[in-house]
């Protein structure tokens, strides 16, 4: 089985209820994730917020939880620093803490709050800390806008849409912006021959494997992506499934 780094996971804070599995604990989560071939993973713990409202305390709490999960799952889980444009100061502080711990990814930013002053502060801090930002988007135009505004900022895009972004748009986006990476947890990229043909026009070093677990069964997602990569040389498969993410995370090859 191909070795993978999964760049889009949401581990439970303690435990969480899932529709079919029922109660999912941290142990169950990482156990099932490992069956997809993921030897390492990165993401922000999943938390249900009261009335969808976030507080400064939530930002600190979620990050501390993530650091604990990392302690319990050394080498298997690398946190992404949780930030929010509503609280740029505490977010920037957490990024500083994360940087001291060797963390290289922060999120989430979203196209919906690109105009917030807090957004700029966080983006600039990410550049200063040499961190990649997890960007949630549902159209390529917004991503292009952000990539142009912050050309020194690495963006790992999590497209949160089934339709709304075409393979042609992804190809154009990656050609235009050297600082944009696309996470393969996007549903469209698992459909028949989409990624397969996209790789004829795009550089492989800009795609990063991710599953979206626990909202998607990770082995199924891994199988779909590996199927789309079946005609690629070993070096390309390895880069997309592992190497590109390793570079973003600062993992040194053995």
């Amino acid at each position: 089985m191909d070795k993978k780094i999964d760049m889009d996971i949401r581990p439970p804070m303690g435990s969480m209820m899932t529709p079919r599995m029922g109660n999912m604990t941290e142990d169950i989560f990482f156990n099932r994730l490992s069956r997809s071939g993921a030897v390492c993973s990165c993401g922000i713990p999943y938390v249900e917020l009261k009335d969808d409202k976030i507080s400064e305390d939530d930002i600190v709490r979620i990050n501390e939880f993530a650091f604990n999960i990392e302690k319990n799952n050394k080498g298997i889980y690398i946190p992404a620093v949780f930030v929010h444009p509503c609280f740029p100061d505490v977010s920037c502080n957490m990024m500083k803490v994360g940087k001291n711990k060797g963390l290289r990814v922060a999120g989430f930013l979203s196209q919906n709050n690109m105009q917030d002053p807090g957004f700029r502060k966080i983006a600039e801090k990410a550049i200063e800390c040499d961190m990649t930002i997890l960007l949630k988007a549902d159209n390529s135009k917004a991503v292009s806008e952000m990539a142009s505004l912050y050309p020194q900022l690495r963006l790992l895009v999590l497209f949160e849409c089934v339709v709304g972004v075409t393979p042609q748009e992804i190809s154009a986006l990656l050609k235009k912006h050297e600082n944009v990476y696309v996470c393969l947890s996007m549903v469209m990229l698992t459909w028949n021959y989409i990624l397969h043909s996209l790789l004829e026009t795009c550089r492989a070093d800009r795609f990063v494997y991710g599953s979206g677990y626990p909202f998607v069964e990770p082995s199924c997602r891994a199988a779909s992506i590996c199927w789309e990569l079946r005609d690629q040389p070993e070096a390309v498969r390895s880069a997309i499934l592992y190497g590109n993410a390793a570079k973003l995370l600062g993992i040194k090859e053995e």
């Binding site: 529709p19 079919r20 393979p167 469209m188 998607v216 199924c220």
Partner: protein, 253 residues
């Protein structure tokens, strides 16, 4: 295991999501499925161009699609088990198509795709008449889902009809349908098992003998749904049922 039976495919379907330009011709269709361990593909022939035609045109479109399905079967030498189309606005034509299929040893209708052919309800007069005729001839009908009430009404009114609804994802409504009606099965094609633990959850609720493997190929890749069955905590017997035995039993393969 005797090899995987894919209960839900659409040979010759020219659907290329977002126009990626890849032609999935009959060679690629067969090779891709066989590469995943699939030994038999079932299902109806459809094309993008049949979508949204004037209703009267389906009187000729339906038999044309069915003839193409028969041609595929002849050319693909045992790899393909055709499902025929019917149409509620043409009861006589549909019953004649059922007779033709039976003469050819084919006992599968569908996957029916009402959303492409201008009709909406499975519990309408025309459909009930046709499927009652189908039930008498021991046909199995594969159907794209409509709403729970409609699907429940059909299963209630035709308890002797063998029904396979598509796209099981383990929702309470789907499982309730199967619990209420012994004649209802589901296939889980097109990422139904993407929900972690879905297959185990569904088998716990309704057993493994009414869940069928399907892919909806070529619109979707085959491997995701296979991986779900291989990876889920199922017994060998449950897995074999889902991946082939149930389809073989229903279609007498």
């Amino acid at each position: 295991m005797d090899g995987i039976v894919d209960f839900h495919t659409h040979p010759l379907y020219d659907f290329h999501f977002q126009d990626h330009g890849v032609v999935i011709d009959s060679t690629r269709f067969q090779n891709d499925l066989k590469a995943c361990g699939i030994v038999c593909a079932c299902g109806s022939v459809i094309y993008s161009s049949i979508n949204g035609c004037p209703v009267e045109e389906y009187e000729t479109i339906v038999p044309t699609l069915n003839r193409q399905a028969l041609q595929c079967r002849a050319e693909w030498k045992g790899f393909y088990y055709p499902g025929i189309h019917i149409h509620p606005d043409f009861v006589r034509m549909s019953c004649e198509e059922i007779d033709c299929a039976c003469e050819q040893g084919i006992h599968l209708i569908g996957e029916l795709v009402p959303y492409m052919m201008g009709w909406r309800q499975y519990s309408s007069k025309g459909i009930l008449e046709i499927l009652s005729y189908a039930a008498e001839r021991n046909m199995v009908v594969s159907m794209h889902p409509t709403c729970y009430e409609d699907m429940d009404a059909l299963a209630t009114q035709l308890p002797h009809l063998k029904i396979v609804y598509a796209h099981l994802s383990g929702t309470d409504e789907q499982l309730m349908l199967m619990k209420r009606h012994e004649n209802v099965c589901f296939d889980y094609c097109a990422h139904g098992a993407d929900h972690d633990g879905m297959l185990r959850y569904a088998v716990n609720a309704v057993g493994s003998e009414r869940i069928l493997f399907g892919t909806d190929f070529p619109g979707d890749s085959p491997v995701s749904d296979i991986q779900a069955a291989m990876d889920e905590q199922l017994t060998d017997k449950e897995r074999e049922n889902i991946l082939g035995n149930n389809a073989r039993r229903l279609l007498n393969l």
